[in-house]
Structure formats: structure tokens, C-alpha cells
């Protein structure tokens, strides 16, 4: 049997008294698109931060192709092959698009600082390869015209794509996308959706994403995991999730009957007092 790309066992992350992620088991099979959904504050991004090494979970294990990665520093995790994007875009603002992608290739290069002063053959070769690959990536994401523009000055949609380009530059096996279509219009969202599909089908990558846009999620996901209050409340194919009673409750609150009951009770209380 093939090892899953990511397997979390019983991952728990708490801040003080708040348990943001509560005993979550998650399995991401190879070359799949898996989504994590859930209401705001459900612990989705915290789980992401645990996987990419920003946080070290209080409890549980995280395996990447069977290798334990819990507690590794983030650059080691990136070297192993996990890249990510951020909910609120975090590019290297003063660097150009090209430089951002070049930084992304850092873990795939090994030239030393002395070599860069001497400009020996190894350095020159590596640098020109990096440049070539960077242009390829920018082209792939439709950013080649913007290569020399500082990231800060890019239009919003381009910034989102540049983040993905930077993440792809390290040639990861797993790509973590935190709300890739947030703030995009319909056309941009459609483009992003097809891009994610291409990454899976043509680049043979595994993608784990957080997304709020249900149309996108139901459209592209192979597996959906639903979090609420840090706990996993459902998992399955899009069709299964859509009809799951607990998911509906998590999003829309408890049944309408109960709400009206509560409301009436309150009213009578008020009258009495």
C-alpha cells in the first residue's frame, strides 16, 4: 500500500485554555485535492500551521510519507517537500516577482556565499538554471510580464498567483493553499480552480487547501474534512458532506425549531422580569 502524503494522528494544539485543534486525524492520499472546511475559528489555519511547522502540536504525530515531521523547523519541512501560501498574502514585498520565485528555489540550490563572490562555474550554472526555471514558473502562472515589478505593486490576483509560484519553486510534493480564492471575482476563481487541477493532474502534486467558497470546494475536492471548534466532525466525498446533518448544523446552527423555542423562552423571561 502506498503511504499517504500527510497523516496526522491525534493532533492537538492549544493556546492557554483554548484548544484550537482537538485530536484531529487527517489522511491526505497522494495526488489528490483535499480540502479542509469549517466555520471561522474552527482551527483550519492552526492545523495548517502545525503541518508546515509554524506551531509544534502539544500532542499527536504528523507524518509526511511516513516520516515524522513534528517539531522540525519550518525550513527543514520545506526542504522535505511541503510548501504553503498564506491566508493574508505574505510576499517579500520589496523584491521583484522574479526574485520572489528565486528565493523560493533556495532549498533546491546549494551554492555557497564564497562561490557567489568568485562566480565559479558551479555558481553560474546553478544561477542560470534557477533563472530559467523561475521564468518558466512565472510564465506558467501568467506573470511573465510582471517579472521585474516589486511584489508590493502587483495587482491583488497577481499577488495570489505569485505566492503559488514561489511555493512551487521549491518543487514540493505537497502544496498547502490557505484560501487561494479569497477576494477573487468569478473569473479569477475559475482560473484558480483550473490551475489547482492542472497542478494535480499534470504536475502530479498533492494539494491540501482551506477554502470558504463552497462552489470551489465541492467542485475540485477529492476528499473534504470538516472542522468545527477544533474537532473533526465529518470527512468524505463532496456529495456525502453536502448531506451530512452535523455539517449543516455547524454552518447554519441547530435546527430552526430549536431556535424559535429558545427565542420564545427568552421572551417569556423578559416578560416575567
Amino acid at each position: 500500500m502506498k503511504l499517504p502524503v500527510i497523516e496526522t494522528q491525534n493532533v492537538t494544539m492549544s493556546f492557554g485554555g483554548l484548544t484550537a485543534v482537538d485530536r484531529v486525524d487527517l489522511v491526505v492520499p497522494e495526488q489528490s485535492i483535499s480540502s479542509i472546511i469549517g466555520p471561522n475559528g474552527a482551527g483550519k489555519t492552526t492545523l495548517f500551521n502545525c503541518v508546515s511547522g509554524f506551531y509544534v502540536p502539544n500532542d499527536g504525530e504528523i507524518n509526511f510519507f511516513g516520516k515524522k515531521i513534528k517539531g522540525l523547523p519550518t525550513h527543514k519541512i520545506c526542504e522535505l517537500g511541503i510548501s504553503r501560501t498564506y491566508q493574508n498574502i505574505r510576499l517579500f514585498n520589496k523584491m521583484t516577482s522574479l526574485e520572489n520565485v528565486l528565493v523560493g528555489q533556495h532549498p533546491r540550490m546549494n551554492s555557497m556565499w564564497v562561490e557567489s563572490i568568485l562566480r565559479n562555474k558551479h555558481y553560474r550554472q546553478q544561477e542560470s538554471q534557477a533563472l530559467q526555471y523561475a521564468y518558466e514558473l512565472l510564465d506558467f502562472l501568467g506573470l511573465s510580464d510582471l517579472a521585474d515589478i516589486p511584489a508590493f505593486n502587483l495587482p491583488y490576483g497577481a499577488q495570489r498567483r505569485l505566492e503559488i509560484a514561489r511555493a512551487l519553486a521549491s518543487q514540493p510534493k505537497l502544496l498547502l493553499l490557505d484560501e487561494p480564492t479569497a477576494g477573487m471575482n468569478q473569473q479569477e476563481t475559475a482560473e484558480m480552480t483550473s490551475l489547482i487541477r492542472i497542478l494535480r493532474d499534470e504536475r502530479k502534486m498533492t494539494i491540501l487547501l482551506i477554502e470558504h467558497d463552497m462552489r470551489v470546494v465541492m467542485d475540485i475536492s477529492d476528499i473534504i474534512t470538516v472542522l468545527d471548534h477544533g474537532q473533526k466532525i465529518a470527512e468524505g466525498k463532496p456529495a456525502e458532506i453536502q448531506s451530512d446533518q452535523r455539517v449543516i448544523e455547524a454552518y447554519l446552527g441547530p435546527g430552526v425549531d430549536e431556535i424559535t423555542k429558545k427565542f420564545k423562552r427568552k421572551k417569556t423571561n423578559n416578560v416575567r422580569s
Binding site: S52, G53, F54, P73, T74, H75, I77, C78, E79, S83, R84, Y86, R90, F92, N93, K94, M95, T96, E99, L102, V103, G104, H106, P107, M109, S111, M112, W113, S116, I117, R119, Y123, Q126, E127, A130, I149, P150, F152, N153, P155, R166, S170
Partner: protein
């Protein structure tokens, strides 16, 4: 109406506060002297105890004039009556406050109160000058009059200028054309011509070789200092400008370099008598080791904490050098004299040799810094500066690269420290105060963070100019502060910003985007 009066009063108050402050620290007479120099007025009157009053009057007039200019807001063109009102209220308030201060101080002075106990620069001669050698009442009336009249003139001039809008837009066009000269085709085709480049390099090289021979030892001394500070700036720029770690104790590495060299080559206190070039290498090495010692524990800190810890480190090194504990090793507060000087073709290094060596090192330093900046290493540093967390998640071992930056910076400081000690033939603990760190940091920031030409420019402005304007030496700190504040407002990206933070390019790009969008819609 009311806003005009308010604006006028506000400006007047600001001028009054600044001017009063300048009077109290005794800056006004220095400034007046400079005005006198510029205009070629005689230094003193026939009676030698009295300075020419006109210079002071011109200074006051100038202050009033600027007040008037500032009362009219940028880009606005109020009606004439408002202009009058603004100029008058600003001038009157400024003149009134300054006048009252002069009157009070003057009255006490007449009664024989000595202000020097509280304000060391406000001696009898000073005060007499400020009172125009007449009574307090007459003097304060003069201040009021001058401020009012010239503020009015300033406001009217500003109004007239804004009325000539055609002129100002033309000026703007000219300005943008001048500032974009490096983008023009003619320049680019010239600059990319290899023959042209080679010619330029040879020309500059020959010029640099002959300059120290021609301009004499005084200039060699000043330019040597500038060169040492360029080297320091290049080193600190790797730490602060590239990798973005605010290290405030940079002087520590400078000091270790200088002392290592001095102790290894001077006859006192140890008489090691090491070969000088080996000593230069060793002092660089010791500085690097110091960097390692400091960097390993503290580079896990970020931002403010790092700044404070390194600030302490710089002072600790200086205090250790002069402490009783280390006096047997370092000669303590006396410092080390007769530091070794290199020998070149049978004679001891002259100022010209030092200058040539320093120029060579500066060029090498620029070369190294430039190549580092454009490499994988440099990109990793800049990524750390921009967002350390994300840089690490992008695969950069931030701790390792921060230490590397610190070590390379320390190496630059160690090398320039050795040269500094050798050139001065002396090194003492008071050469390595906090001010050195502050100076170098100012060079990096004012030149433009991470920009190499900016550092050269910054070193000339901050170390070269003060040497030439010796008269202002007492007010150097004041000028630094003012310069930093003005820079942060007017040119936050530095005098010569690095390529990526040029304002003009950004604006040009956003403009072009806007046009594209319009075309698409049309």
C-alpha cells in the same frame, strides 16, 4: 478667515519654539557667522569685542521669511486677504514670543545674572550680540518687527509663486526629466557599450590613483576617514541593510579589530612585533570570532530585543578595554601608542599609501557586497529582512544566514579597525564610543538601506561634510537628528535608494497599469 488665523498662529508658534531653542543653545550666532562668511562680511567690527549685527538681522529675517512661506499650505492658493492674515499672524506670534524671551533674558543679563551656569553657550558676549548691543526693549522690538515684516513678505512671495502655476509645472517636468536621465535611450546605449565601460573604468582608476598624490595630506586624512567609514558602512549594510537585523553595537567589532592589530604590532604593552600583514588578517579573524561569540546566543532574538542586546554589547567591549581588570592586557584608558605601520618599498607607509590601500579596499568591498547581493545568499538575506517567518518557511535557514551576515559584517569592521589603528598610530577606548555605531548606522540608513552607492554617498555626507564644516562641530548631533527627521519625511527610502524601492519606478508602473485598464475598457 479663522482657519487662516489658526494656520498662521500654528506656524508662528512652531517657528518661535525652534528659534528660541536655537537661541538658548547658542546656535544663532554660529549661524549668523556662517551667513557673514557666505556674504563676505567682515568677521568683527573695528571694536573687536563686537560682532557685525547685520548678520544676525539677516538670520532673523530669513527665519521670518520661511515662516511666511510655510503659512501658505502646499498646493493651496488662498485669496490675498487671507495671505496677508496668515503672514501677519505667523510673524507677529513668532516675533512676540522670541521678543519676550529676549526681553526676559536680556533684563536678567542687564542685572548681572550669569546664565552660563544653566546654559553654557549663553555667555556675556553672546547675549550682548543677541541684544544688538542695546537695551532689551529695543532688541525685542527689533525681533518683533523683523519677524512680522519678513513673514509677510514670505507669504506674499509664496502666493505670487503659486500664481505662476505654469512655471511650477514646467519645473516639475524638468525635474522628472532630470531624475529619469538614466532611463533614456541615449544613456542606456552609451552605458552598455563595452568600450565606453572600459574607458570609464580606466579613467576612474587613473583619477583615483592620482588624486591622493595631488590633494595633500589634509585631504588624505579626511578622505581616509571617509573611506574607513565606507568600509564600516558596507559591513553594517550586510547586517542591517541586507539581512535586516538591527545591530547597534557594531563598534565592538571595529574595536576588537583595532585593538588586536595594535596589541600585536605595538612595542608597548606586549611587544609581540608580528608581521603587519599577518596582524591585519588576525585582527579580521578575531573580529569574526567576536561576531560568532555574540551571534550564536543572540541572533535568535528579533527586532527591538536584538537592538538592545547589541547596544549593550558595544558598550561592554569599550568598558572592558578600559577596565582595571584588562589594563595589563590593553593598557586601559591610556590606549596603545606606536601602533605598527606597514612598510612599502623600504619606507614607512605615507598618507598617500594609506589612501591608495583604503581606496583599493573600498573598491574590493563594494565588489564583494555587490556580488553577494545579487546571489542566492543575498536573496536569502533580503527575504529574511522582508519577512523572517515566511523566509524560513520558504526553505531559508534563517539562523544560519543571520549569523553569516553578522560574521561578514564583523570581518569588514575588523579590517577597517586594523587600518584605523595603523593609520592613527594610536588606539584608545574613547575611539570606540556608541557614537561610532550611531554614525555608521546613520550612513546606512541615510544612504538608503541595502543600497551600495547610497553608503558611499552617506559616508561622504556624514563624515566628509562635518570635517569641512568644523565650525558646526558642536552641533553635529543636532544636525544628525534634524537630518534623520527630514530624511524620514522627505526621502524615507534614503538618498540613493536601492533599485527595488525607487519611488519613481513604482509610480510609473501604477500609472501604466491605469492606462492599460482604460484601454481594455475602451
Amino acid at each position: 478667515m479663522i482657519t487662516s488665523i489658526k494656520d498662521g498662529l500654528r506656524t508662528g508658534l512652531t517657528t518661535a519654539i525652534i528659534f528660541t531653542f536655537l537661541i538658548l543653545i547658542g546656535f544663532t550666532s554660529v549661524a549668523a557667522n556662517i551667513i557673514g562668511d557666505v556674504l563676505g562680511n567682515p568677521e568683527a567690527l573695528n571694536d573687536e569685542s563686537q560682532l557685525p549685527v547685520e548678520n544676525l538681522l539677516i538670520l532673523i529675517g530669513l527665519a521670518g521669511f520661511i515662516t511666511g512661506l510655510v503659512t501658505i499650505r502646499k498646493g493651496s492658493s488662498p485669496p490675498w486677504i487671507d495671505v496677508l492674515l496668515r503672514g501677519l499672524t505667523g510673524g507677529i506670534l513668532a516675533g512676540l514670543i522670541v521678543g519676550i524671551v529676549i526681553y526676559i533674558v536680556g533684563s536678567f543679563h542687564m542685572e548681572g545674572v550669569d546664565f552660563r551656569a544653566y546654559l553654557p553657550n549663553l555667555g556675556t558676549a553672546q547675549l550682548g550680540y543677541l541684544l544688538f548691543y542695546s537695551t532689551p526693549l529695543a532688541a525685542s522690538t527689533t525681533y518683533l518687527l523683523y519677524f512680522t515684516v519678513f513673514s509677510l513678505v514670505g507669504a506674499l512671495v509664496r502666493k505670487t509663486l503659486t500664481m505662476l502655476t505654469g512655471l511650477s509645472t514646467q519645473l516639475k517636468n524638468l525635474k522628472s526629466r532630470v531624475s529619469n536621465w538614466s532611463d533614456t535611450k541615449v544613456f542606456k546605449s552609451f552605458a552598455s557599450n563595452q568600450l565606453f565601460q572600459a574607458g570609464l573604468i580606466i579613467l576612474v582608476g587613473v583619477g583615483l590613483y592620482f588624486l591622493p598624490l595631488v590633494w595633500g595630506s589634509y585631504w588624505n586624512y579626511i578622505m581616509g576617514t571617509v573611506a574607513i567609514y565606507i568600509l564600516l558602512g558596507l559591513g553594517l549594510n550586510i547586517i542591517v541593510g541586507f539581512s535586516g537585523q538591527l545591530v547597534l553595537g557594531y563598534v565592538a567589532f571595529f574595536a576588537t579589530g583595532a585593538y588586536t592589530f595594535a596589541l600585536l604590532t605595538a612595542p608597548e604593552p606586549h611587544a609581540v612585533g608580528l608581521n603587519l600583514w599577518v596582524a591585519v588578517g588576525l585582527s579580521t579573524l578575531v573580529s569574526i570570532l567576536t561576531g560568532l561569540l555574540l551571534g550564536l546566543p543572540i541572533l535568535r532574538l528579533r527586532g527591538d530585543y536584538l537592538a538592545i542586546v547589541t547596544l549593550g554589547f558595544g558598550e561592554i567591549v569599550r568598558i572592558l578595554i578600559r577596565s582595571d581588570l584588562l589594563t595589563p592586557l590593553t593598557n586601559g584608558p591610556k590606549g596603545v601608542t606606536n601602533v605598527g605601520q606597514p612598510i612599502w618599498r623600504g619606507h614607512i607607509f605615507t598618507d598617500i599609501n594609506y589612501m591608495h590601500l583604503l581606496m583599493l579596499l573600498v573598491l574590493a568591498g563594494l565588489f564583494i557586497a555587490k556580488r553577494l547581493k545579487d546571489s542566492r545568499t543575498g536573496r536569502a538575506w533580503i527575504a529574511i529582512r522582508e519577512d523572517q517567518t515566511v523566509a524560513q518557511a520558504t526553505g531559508v535557514d534563517t539562523y544560519k544566514y543571520k549569523i553569516l551576515a553578522l560574521l561578514l559584517g564583523a570581518a569588514f569592521a575588523g579590517l577597517s579597525g586594523a587600518l584605523f589603528a595603523s593609520r592613527n598610530q594610536f588606539t584608545g577606548p574613547e575611539d570606540f564610543t556608541l557614537m561610532v555605531s550611531v554614525n555608521v548606522l546613520c550612513i546606512v540608513i541615510i544612504g538608503g538601506m541595502g543600497s551600495l552607492p547610497g553608503i558611499v554617498l552617506g559616508a561622504f555626507v556624514l563624515k566628509g561634510l562635518p570635517e569641512l564644516l568644523r565650525e558646526l562641530a558642536d552641533y553635529r548631533l543636532l544636525a544628525f537628528g534634524a537630518l534623520l527627521v527630514v530624511m524620514m519625511i522627505v526621502r524615507p527610502e534614503g538618498l540613493w535608494p536601492g533599485q527595488n524601492n525607487k519611488k519613481g519606478k513604482m509610480a510609473a508602473f501604477t500609472n501604466s497599469l491605469g492606462e492599460d485598464n482604460l484601454e481594455e475598457r475602451a
